[in-house]
């Protein structure tokens, strides 16, 4: 066995030990509870926007009439974040949920400025739908892409 061969074997052995001894890339396993909770929140948000688009010029379109939605979404986000933080190697999902949480804060601020027009509802729903799609895509990739 010459020096080159020893080097090659050593390199292969090092890679082998690295692959078997520890995970080089760590990402949390699929969480079905998170999947269901995110899907449920998506449905609540879709209902809110459907309701908002109908009532843009009616008295019930203002922020005070939708307080329950904002409170429920805040509670749902808090529960999702606690669960996501409790799981190891879940930093990407935690970051996604933190950003989504701030989106709900922005939405509430926007609603406090006045009722949403149909054009605004369409624009806002585009943002939220894209956010939910991306969060669910990552969660499902943990299950199906492995």
């Amino acid at each position: 066995m010459n020096c080159l061969s020893i080097t090659k074997n050593g390199l292969v052995l090092a890679i082998l030990l690295a692959l078997s001894g520890c995970s080089l890339v760590a990402i949390s396993p699929y969480d079905s509870s998170a999947d269901k909770a995110i899907t449920k929140l998506h449905k609540q948000t879709a209902e809110f926007f459907a309701d908002s688009s109908k009532a843009s010029d009616e008295p019930g379109c203002g922020y005070p009439h939708h307080l329950r939605f904002y409170q429920n979404s805040k509670i749902s986000m808090s529960s999702l974040l606690v669960r996501a933080r409790a799981m190891a190697d879940n930093s990407l999902t935690v970051s996604q949920l933190k950003v989504l949480s701030s989106s709900y804060v922005n939405l509430a601020q926007l609603h406090q400025l006045g009722c949403f027009t149909p054009a605004q509802v369409s624009e806002l729903w585009g943002s939220f739908d894209a956010s939910f799609s991306a969060i669910l895509k990552l969660e499902l990739a943990k299950k199906y892409a492995r």
């Binding site: 066995m1 061969s5 090659k8 074997n9 390199l11 292969v12 890679i15 082998l16 692959l19 078997s20 995970s23 080089l24 890339v25 760590a26 990402i27 990407l92 999902t93 970051s95 996604q96 950003v99 989504l100 701030s102 989106s103 922005n106 939405l107 601020q109 926007l110 400025l113 006045g114 027009t117 054009a119 605004q120 624009e123 806002l124 585009g126 943002s127 939220f128 894209a130 956010s131 991306a134 969060i135 895509k137 990552l138 990739a141 943990k142 892409a145 492995r146």
Partner: protein
Amino acid sequence: MNEIKDDLGSLLLSKLLVQASSDGLSSNHKAPADTLRLAEELDAINTMVIAGELSEEQAVLHRELRLNALKIRLLSIEGDDDIALERTLDGMGKVIRRFYGV
């Protein structure tokens, strides 16, 4: 026999390195398309401001929401890449372990 094993081992390693450094494991090419879409969305918000449908204060919040959606999308792409790399490394690990009988 040992020489054949060495050569095959080296080949496996070089394949792993090529895979890890190639675009096959990366979804980075998706990011420019998302950035372009964001530019169009921000442009649509500006059009709404010019048309008087949105105040500047409202437009700031709309833009922030669009940026948040992009951030979430980019995090998803990063996660997809990590999962793809994890899958490749696991596969290579299995092949190498079987090859060396470990």
